[in-house]
Amino acid sequence: MVQAPGEVGTVFELFRKSKYFTVQPESKREIPEGLWIKCRCREILFSKDLSRNYKVCQKCGHHFRLTAWERIELTLDPDSFVEFDADLEPRDILEFPGYAQKLAKAQEETGLREAVVTGEGTIGGHRVVVVVMDAHFIMGSMGTVVGEKVARAAERALEKRVPLVAFSASGGARMQEGILSLMQMGKTAAALGRLDQAGLLYISVLTDPTMGGVSASFGFLGDIILAEPGALIGFAGPRVIEQTIRQKLPDGFQQAEFLQEHGFVDLVVPRNRLRDTIIKILGLHQQGE
């Protein structure tokens, strides 16, 4: 059967999928990496402006996650920080499939050896030992080296008799180090127990996210517990809870403000006031000043 060319076209048109331009709303390809950053409120932010504003969106107030070194720069007095235990390196003790590669990749991408940086320095002139976690390194999960560095930091604070300030950012215990990760909760809690009994101050700052094995150990053991606005804080992750109870979680559930409302966080402090708040608290724990 011979058909007119126009008819063939029509039949084909019927079955042909319409072509559209695909727009990927979340794609970073459109935006040169590092120069422009898109906030979840859809605002496009110039990365230099964002950095100047403590990495907080000027429009919606969203607090972007900081790297450990950004946090240190933002919090400690310039050039006062001296790192502890920089040489401690995680190992794949359980020979957990894929873990060695995951570690190598995280190290390459972050330039860190582990998910926590510890050290001493001054904040507003006050000597402190600090623990700073980095969620960019395997979601800040706690394995043996993270636990060891936190415990050593607490012991150094005790030895030097200075306050400990910890910034947590972690999805919880690191599955790939199994039971040894779980035991780091015990290890850090034990070290903080000694600090507590010695009457020394521990300020715990919960940042996005602080979950599971980290919130359930050194995260919630602070004498004073601060949190950044909007930070996800809790024990079980929201996805796991939703799957378990098979219902949608209420808005704001497990956010810093929710924790303050329920009595588990002393104060939610925006990042631009965090350093001053910590200085004020440190000052109030100094005798005779």
Partner: protein, 315 residues
């Protein structure tokens, strides 16, 4: 109908055959003793090879066996004058943990434990041994009381993990666990912990730190339940068996890493196959450790406990 796992089927079939043969020999008045003896020997060998080479996942199954003894069974058997104490004095009484005071091997002790149910109905009440923050705080209260009166603390661990839900988060699950860990690490009385089934995540550790940690031969103890681990790593709880193999959660693994102090043998095939013998085996080990740590100087006890936890993972 007893719970029989696939890997146990050859054993049960053989045991059934032996029972039939015995019945047949009795009914007909035939002497089949030699044949029965041969079969019994074969059954014993089969049991030894099966139960002596359990995979981690098979141990998880045995650790969760519905007929396995629970905390209350041990407490009732090991304690005289047990008085159960309820509540956290703040919110409520969490039935997922039991606690109280009693006399054990001559010592007045405080005893706490996760408590699962024996059947679905009881499990709904006990929440499968998954404690809420109120359960943690009940334990914390009893710990502090033990310290006040100088009583040793005995903890039985048997939980898939802390409860996961809205109320638990609202009432501070993480904070409650953290407080228990700090309290256990500094508590000024001797503490013996026995993992009697499964020990999963922070919910287990909240009752699971002490001077001596014992594990029954086929019990498991891990950073999370295999299901939760599979869900976290692969977003697929169905791969729990695989996760169990990787987590290194058996008593044998944990002893090798110095996480626990002793493995308490179980009757061949697990606690549920001979509860009486299981009670005797655990009684011996628990009383011996309790006695040892109660004789130690308290300062020494606390220093040793601290260094034990400080050393874990520094391999």
């Amino acid at each position: 109908m007893p719970t029989v796992f696939d890997f146990e089927k050859p054993i049960y079939e053989l045991e059934t055959k032996i029972a039939e043969l015995k019945q047949f020999s009795a009914d007909k008045g035939l002497n089949l003793n030699r044949e029965i003896e041969v079969l019994e020997q074969r059954a014993l060998e089969l049991k030894r090879s099966t139960y002596g080479n359990l995979t981690p996942w098979q141990k998880v199954l045995i650790a969760r066996h519905p007929n396995r003894l629970g905390a209350r069974d041990y407490i009732d058997n090991f304690c005289t004058d047990f008085v159960e104490l309820h509540g956290d004095r703040a919110f409520g009484d969490d039935p997922a943990v039991v606690g109280g005071i009693g006399r054990m091997n001559g010592y007045a002790v405080t005893v706490v434990g996760h408590q699962k149910g024996r059947d679905t109905k009881e499990n709904l009440v006990r929440n499968f041994g998954m404690l809420h923050p109120d359960g943690c705080r009940k334990v914390l209260r009893l710990m502090r009381q033990a310290e006040k009166f100088g009583r040793p603390l005995v903890c039985f661990v048997d939980t898939p993990g802390a409860h996961c839900g809205i109320g638990a988060e609202e009432r501070g699950q993480a904070e409650a666990i953290a407080r228990n860990l700090m309290a256990l690490s500094t508590l000024k009385v001797p503490i013996v912990v026995v993992v009697i089934g499964e020990g999963g995540s922070g919910g287990a550790l909240a009752l699971g730190m002490g001077d001596r940690i014992l594990m029954q031969e086929h019990s498991v103890f891990s950073v999370s339940s295999p299901e939760a681990c599979a869900s976290i790593i692969w977003k697929d709880a169905g791969r729990a068996r695989e996760a169990a193999e990787m987590l290194k959660l058996t008593a044998q693994d944990l002893l090798r890493w110095g996480v626990i102090d002793e493995i308490v043998p179980e009757p061949l095939g697990g606690v549920h196959r001979d509860p009486e013998q299981a009670l005797e085996l655990l009684r011996e080990a628990l009383f011996r450790h309790l006695d040892e740590i109660c004789r130690l100087d308290r300062g020494e006890l606390l220093r040793t406990r601290y260094h034990k936890y400080r050393a874990i993972g520094n391999l």
